[in-house]
Structure formats: C-alpha cells, structure tokens
C-alpha cells in the first residue's frame, strides 16, 4: 500500500521542479543548438535562454512566467495499491497542483472557457488533466507532471494513405513554419508527432511524443526512428531559428508515436514542447522510497504492444 501523504508531498515537489529546473536532456540539446547557431539574433536569444535556466535554478523561481497548464500522467505497476484508492489519489494531485500554484508561485492559468472564472490555483473543471497507464508487474506509482505552455504549436490534419511520407513532411513543415513565424511556438522545441489512432487519440499520441520522451530517445521501430531523424534535420533546414529569426535551430528533437487507425486514413498531429520543457517525474514505492528523475519512460514495449495477449513476468504470475 502506498501512502497518500507521500504521494501528495512528492507531487508538490514535482510541481516545483518542473517549473524551475530545465531537464538535462533538453538543456544539453539546446547547448548543442547554440554551439552551431550562426544567426546573430537567434544566437543572442539562445544565449539569453541558457542564462535564464541558470537564473531560475539559482533564485528558485519559475523559468518562464507562463507556467503552462499543469497536468499529470500517472503510471502504476500491476500490483499497486494506493491508500484511499483512486479518489484519494486524484484529490492528492489536485491539492498538490493548487498548493504549488500558490507556493512556487505559478501563474494561475486555468479559467472557465466561457465565464473566465479563475480559482487562482490551476484547478477547475477537467483541470489538471490526469491520465493513466499501467505496467505488468511491480508495486509502485510513477507521478509525471508536465506543464506544457502556450496556445500555439499544435495542429491536426487528416492525411490519407496515398499522401505517404511526402504528405507527412508537408504537414510537418506547414506546422513548423506557421507557428515558428515570430517564434509563437517558443522554438527550438521538442516536436511530437502522432500518426494514426482516431482524431482524439492522434492528438494524445503526438502530445505524449513531445512531452513524455527525452531528447535523443528513438522509437523502437527502426524505420520510424530513421524518419524521426530525417524530420529533425528537415525542421532545422527551414532557415528559421529562435523567435522566428533567421537561423538553423528550430527543432531539438522529433519524436513520432503511432497507433492503429481506420484503413482509409492516416491521421497526423504535430505538437511543439516549448523552450521551457517542463516535466518532472518520481517513482513512489510502498516502502516509502521516492526516486526522482526527468525521463518519464512512458513508451515501454507494453505501451506499444500490438498483440491481444501480453505475458506477465513469471514472478507476478505465481504471486
């Protein structure tokens, strides 16, 4: 049984870390981009961003004033039991979101879409989102918070099988150029692409590809991995850099996730995770251990499974 108090306490720490500490994989990626950038204005912007990450950590203040829309991805091993059950878990995550909004402080971004009601705590109808995943085996819970920013950088197009890779490249470029102008996408960013599924799952896959995979990580399908690298290079050949100034750093990495779709279509979504790629992760165990990390490690073989059955590890089967 995992302590609910420990879950809430850990979740509050994660909210703070996500807002303040740029993950190492993204930081290294951005340093790499800064080292090859030769556009004068773009170069100035990247240097300012690198200074900004340091200032945020030194002062323990949010790296960006727009602290995004906090959400939770929760993953559990098959044997996990939570004190108070799933209702207590969701309450703990809503409390942590509210407390951290006031504590760090974060910007209370969440309002009612029509009445603009603001509870000043980033909690409301459907907010924060809480999404779940499960893994075969183990008694632990992964708490992953992502505070993706902004209104721009995400789009969807219904492609068809005959559009092929050329159609994928077109929509990818359309999205990067459109949202890259004037830097609305807050590039250079991790770009996530969802392919297939239904419209809603296609958006979910692309968002998770952007927010739940780290820079340098490749899809387990070698041909998709190759396409990821090709698209990354294509994005960096546009001639556009940070803030939409002339430059060559548009994309820090490109990730693709796929899901089986209707036989007549090839749904595609594109998502840009901004310069402040806010994500933080912790695994909480039943014995009270907490391990913090920045890699969500969401897309395991189990999450990408294609088969009807999945064999449980033998240990769990006999238990």
């Amino acid at each position: 049984m995992i302590s609910i108090d420990l879950i809430q306490k850990t979740a509050e720490t994660l909210m703070d870390k996500a807002a303040i500490e740029i993950p190492d994989d993204y930081l290294e990626g951005l340093k790499g981009a800064a080292s090859v950038e030769d556009g004068d204005l773009s170069s100035f912007v990247l240097k300012a961003m690198l200074e900004n990450y340091e200032a945020a950590k030194e002062d323990r203040r949010a790296m960006c004033g727009d602290t995004g829309t906090p959400r939770w991805y929760v993953k559990m091993g098959n044997e996990t039991q939570i004190e108070g059950g799933p209702i207590a878990l969701e309450t703990a995550l809503r409390r942590a979101t509210s407390n951290a909004t006031n504590g760090v402080p974060l910007r209370p971004n969440r309002v009612h879409p029509l009445w603009r009601t603001d509870h000043n705590n980033n909690v409301g109808i459907g907010a924060p989102e809480i999404e779940y995943g499960y893994e075969p085996g183990g008694e632990w819970i992964d708490l992953i918070t992502v505070h993706k920013g902004g209104l721009f950088g995400t789009d969807y197009r219904m492609l068809f099988p005959s559009d092929g890779i050329q159609g994928i490249k077109r929509f990818y470029l359309d999205s990067l150029v459109a949202f890259g102008k004037r830097g609305l996408a807050c590039q250079p960013a991790i770009i996530g692409i969802g392919l297939g599924g239904c419209k809603d799952t296609c958006m979910v896959l692309g968002k998770r590809a952007a927010c739940l995979r780290t820079v340098g990580d490749r899809n387990s399908d070698p041909k998709i991995a190759e396409l990821e690298l090709e698209l990354k290079d294509l994005g960096n050949s546009i001639g556009m850099g940070a803030m939409g100034f002339v430059g060559k750093s548009m994309v820090i990495d490109t990730h693709i996730e796929v899901g089986y779709c209707h036989t007549g279509g090839m749904q595609m979504s594109v998502h840009a995770f901004c310069l402040s790629s806010r994500r933080a992760v912790a695994r909480v165990f039943a014995d009270g251990r907490v391990e913090f990390r920045t890699d969500p490690d969401w897309f395991t073989d189990y999450q990408r499974r294609e088969t009807v059955e999945w064999e449980l590890p033998s240990q769990e089967k006999s238990a």
Binding site: S35, E37, D38, D40, L41, S42, S43, F44, V45, K47, A48, M49, E51, A55, D59, R61, A62, M63, C64, G65, D66, T67, N102, V104, P105, R107, P108, N109, V111, R116, D118, N120, L151, M158, L159, F160, S162, D163, Q166, K169, R170, F171, L173, V177, K181, R182, G183, L184, C186, S237, I238, G239, M240, A242, M243, G244, F245, V246, L275, S276
Partner: protein, 224 residues
C-alpha cells in the same frame, strides 16, 4: 555562434521622443522605472466597460506589458512575484488605438510583435515603439529586474492572471526592439528573408488532399 553582438541600451519606462527615435530594429533594451501589465481583461474593462483606469497615465508609466506574472498575493497584502513572461500581442490589436489615445503609451512590450500596418497606423502617430521579450521565456531573468511590485489593481474583478500589476523595474531585460519610428517590423524583415528559402525546403512534399476553409497555402503570409 553568431559573432555580431546586438547594441545594448538602458531606457526609461517614460522615455523621451529622442530616446525612442534612436532605437533600431534588433537593439537590446533594459528598462528602468514603472511599468504595468494590461491584456484583454484590462482592455475590456477599461475600454468596453468604461471603468476608470486606477493609475495616472502616462504620468506614472508609459509602458504597457502584455503579461501575466507567476505571482501570489500574501495574506499580509504583500506580493511574491517569481517569473514574468509576455503573451502574444497580435490578438490585442483591436484595442490598442483607443488605449494609446487614453493612456499616452510609448512602449508596448509583448510576444511576437504586431504587423507593420499596425505600427504605421497607430504606433508611429503616437510616437510609440514595440519591444519584444526574448526567447520566449526568459521569465526568470525578467523576474530579477523587478525591484518592487508597487500594486495590483482589479485583482478582485479579473483574477491574478488578468489583473493590472504595477512593477518597478531596475534594469529589467533583455527586450528586443521590434518596431521603429518608420513603422518597420523586425519580424516581417526576418520572415521575408526566410521565405526565400521555403520553396527549396518544401520541394517534393505533398499538399493536403482534403482542403479546409479559412486557411492559406501562401508561405509568405504573416498569418496574424
């Protein structure tokens, strides 16, 4: 890394016409003095709701930041402001002509700039300049430039994110000069340079088979 370093300038938030005329596209600016945040909430309340603006403008400040801070109001009434970052300005264009007339604003700070048409038709006639934040998202650096949070107005009515925050700045920056007294636009200049390369990048790609209303395929369009 690029070699040419941009010019760095200290500027008052109630700047003289001469200081504004000397600014060039791409200059880097740091601000001193009082500024206030105002975005759709403040514009709607002041201009459409005809509420009295709770500051003496432009006497107190001639600088309007399109921003909501990551901030809280403590139980004792004091303020905690961590990071400040701009929000995209293009969607506020409809309110700005009246706002200029009412407030004498000389500096508008935000994200992404406006169009050269906006600059020529109401920035230049009002002697005003647009400054862009950098990144975007140098929120922590800008936060260091806050000497003091002087006040927050209309928090009850608009909420923390839309309220009118009054901030005393000490070398707050960096900002980039994105318009000038000709009404020229830094982002349009950059977009025009980038557009020349786009045909080559798009070569061999396939346009959408299913078209959608309300969209364009002209890559040189500004889209805002």
């Amino acid at each position: 890394m690029g070699t040419a370093k941009p010019r760095e300038i200290r500027l008052s938030t109630t700047p003289t016409p001469e200081a504004l005329a000397a600014l060039k596209l791409g200059d880097v600016v740091y601000l001193d003095g009082l500024l206030y945040t105002a975005r759709e909430g403040v514009y709607m309340r002041a201009l459409e709701g005809k509420a009295n603006i709770p500051m003496e403008l432009p006497r107190d400040s001639a600088t309007n930041f399109h921003c909501s801070p990551a901030a809280r109001i403590n139980a004792d009434g004091s303020f905690e402001m961590g990071a400040v970052t701009a929000t995209a300005s293009f969607r506020f264009a409809k309110w700005l002509p009246e706002w200029f007339a009412k407030t004498g604003t000389k500096l508008v700070i935000g994200k992404g700039g406006m169009t050269s048409k906006d600059y020529k038709s109401y920035f230049v006639p009002n002697g005003a300049i647009y400054l862009s934040t950098v990144g975007y998202g140098t929120g922590a650096l800008l936060g260091r430039g806050i000497e003091k949070v002087e006040a927050v107005h209309w928090n009850e009515e608009l909420g923390l994110a839309q309220a009118m925050w009054v901030i005393k700045c000490n070398k707050m920056g960096p900002f980039i000069v994105a318009s000038d007294m000709n009404g020229d636009c830094l982002f349009e200049r950059e977009n025009a340079k980038i557009a020349k390369n786009l045909d080559r990048v798009y070569e061999g790609t396939r346009p959408a088979t299913l078209k959608r209303f309300g969209e364009t395929d002209d890559k040189s369009e500004e889209l805002i």
